[in-house]
Subunit: 293 residues, 2 copies
């Protein structure tokens, strides 16, 4: 049995986890994951488990991964693991933070309780916090860290375009847009979004002379991408030629990424919180700097 | 707020849950269930929650349903619900009852712990117990009941064919086959199965004169259906004309049901533990007789 901390990765989040292990200078081991034809998950863990394990896996497409995390943690604890740090750059269920209609399960709260019951520390990036402002009020465990990718995203923007106008599509994006703009002295403006359904939004941009600007749309995540698509289309209609997108979490369900590119957006830059072909910003250093082993 | 017990159903298990509520003479209410495009589940529960709630939903395709059960129970408890009875005619993860390879998570154990932590009573039918013989050793909660559909399946067989030969494809099916055969004085025999993979099995039948018999293949569940398909093919090759199948849990993933019928099996009879077009045996009375309100 080895006693150095171990980083435990999963096949669907291998590159990111291996990079993190390398920066932390700890051993990497990968769980074997198999889905039975009826939808049950089979997990096989390394045999030698040290007292500290870092589990690195984002929680997009969350239900399978939450159950697999549950099995993994229970097995690790049974094998004597005393300290489990969950590094989940993308955290799920953060948007369901109230009963939008009476009777709705506030799943943000229950996912927080589940994670707190399982692991000792949770490290994530840009969780979509809105009504509950602090992650430690959702996940009440020994230590939580909600990191910001704003600085990394700002650097990427500065690296690729000069004098950009940063646009956040809605009030909820304001926190990220402001931070990025202020770090680099970029101009910015923030739109106003009305959500009409899961896949239907209406964005109103403030009146502004954008025609000749290089615009970078910034948001924390793209799920159906409708918010970015709608905003990009409006900017195109206003005659804007150079449009880029920068996001932390590239969920991009279904065909949404190609729909976004089809609007004429030149490039999409995302962090590797969720594996996607637009990934160009590694979170490994940011995460490694926060983990205390 | 009403104080009579409530039966809480879900859209994907509506008929069975409504039948059960009718037999129990209690009100039926249905959770609203919505999947966001990124795979998160949204659940909306009735507003008035009594102190006793019967949740009726099988746990096939389990990961989504386990997370949804978790959210549901947490909300019910927060609203003051004191007693929660889970009626899950099909229970998931019962086959992973040991480390088949070193390091494998024994998910049967952890699902049992999860269910015990959530609900006060669990009622199920023909759980696939093999190495751990008693459901109460897996789910340590106030009350568990593992009912048998053998008598109902035996009745269905007796109703449709005369003097059948009951065949169980493998040693694990013996418990169901024996019970059914003895109740009705049917002849029976049991094969020997070697599993070569998730979707690949080899069945060896004992030497026996089966050619002119009406054969009913009996098992607790059909997942990929390979066990039944392989056995039916062998019987066909031995010249058996009349082959029927009777199972408790009709999971039938993918195209397996049609593959089974393509072997020449005349009819498949299943209980309504999992919704499927072969369902012809209602479990409602059996379940209702076991629930104590």
């Amino acid at each position: 049995m080895f006693h150095e901390p171990l980083l435990l990765g999963f096949p669907d989040y291998q590159l990111q986890a291996k990079n993190l292990a390398r920066l932390l200078k700890i051993e990497y081991a990968e769980a074997e994951l198999h889905y039975f034809p009826d939808g049950e998950s089979k997990i096989r863990l390394p045999i030698d488990i040290p007292s500290t394990v870092v589990i690195c896996r984002s929680l997009d497409s969350p239900n399978d991964k939450l159950i697999e995390l549950f099995f993994t943690v229970k097995e690790l604890r049974q094998k004597g693991c005393e300290r489990i740090i969950l590094v989940a750059p993308y955290l799920c269920y953060m948007r369901q933070d109230k009963e939008f209609q009476p009777g709705e399960a506030v799943s943000q709260r229950w996912v927080g309780r589940l994670l707190a019951s399982l692991v000792d520390e949770v490290i994530t990036v840009d969780p979509h916090l809105h009504r509950v402002k602090k992650l430690e009020d959702i996940i009440k465990t020994r230590r939580v860290a909600a990191l910001s990718a704003a600085s990394l995203i700002g650097n990427q923007i500065a690296l690729r375009v000069s004098d950009p106008l940063i646009i956040g599509p809605d009030e909820e994006s304001k926190q990220w847009v402001e931070q990025i703009a202020q770090l680099h002295d970029f101009n910015y403006l923030v739109g106003d979004k009305t959500r009409l359904g899961d896949r239907d939004v209406n964005i109103v941009l403030p009146p502004s002379d954008v025609k000749d600007r290089t615009v970078v749309l910034v948001d924390d995540m793209a799920s159906t991408g409708k918010t970015l698509i709608n905003t990009a289309q409006q900017l195109k209609e206003l005659g804007v030629d150079k449009i880029y997108c920068a996001i932390t979490h590239a969920l991009f369900v279904g065909d949404s990424y190609h729909e976004l590119l089809a609007t004429g957006v030149k490039e999409v830059w995302s962090t590797d919180s969720v594996s996607h072909s637009s990934n160009c910003i590694s979170l490994a250093s940011l995460l490694a700097d926060t983990i205390r082993l």
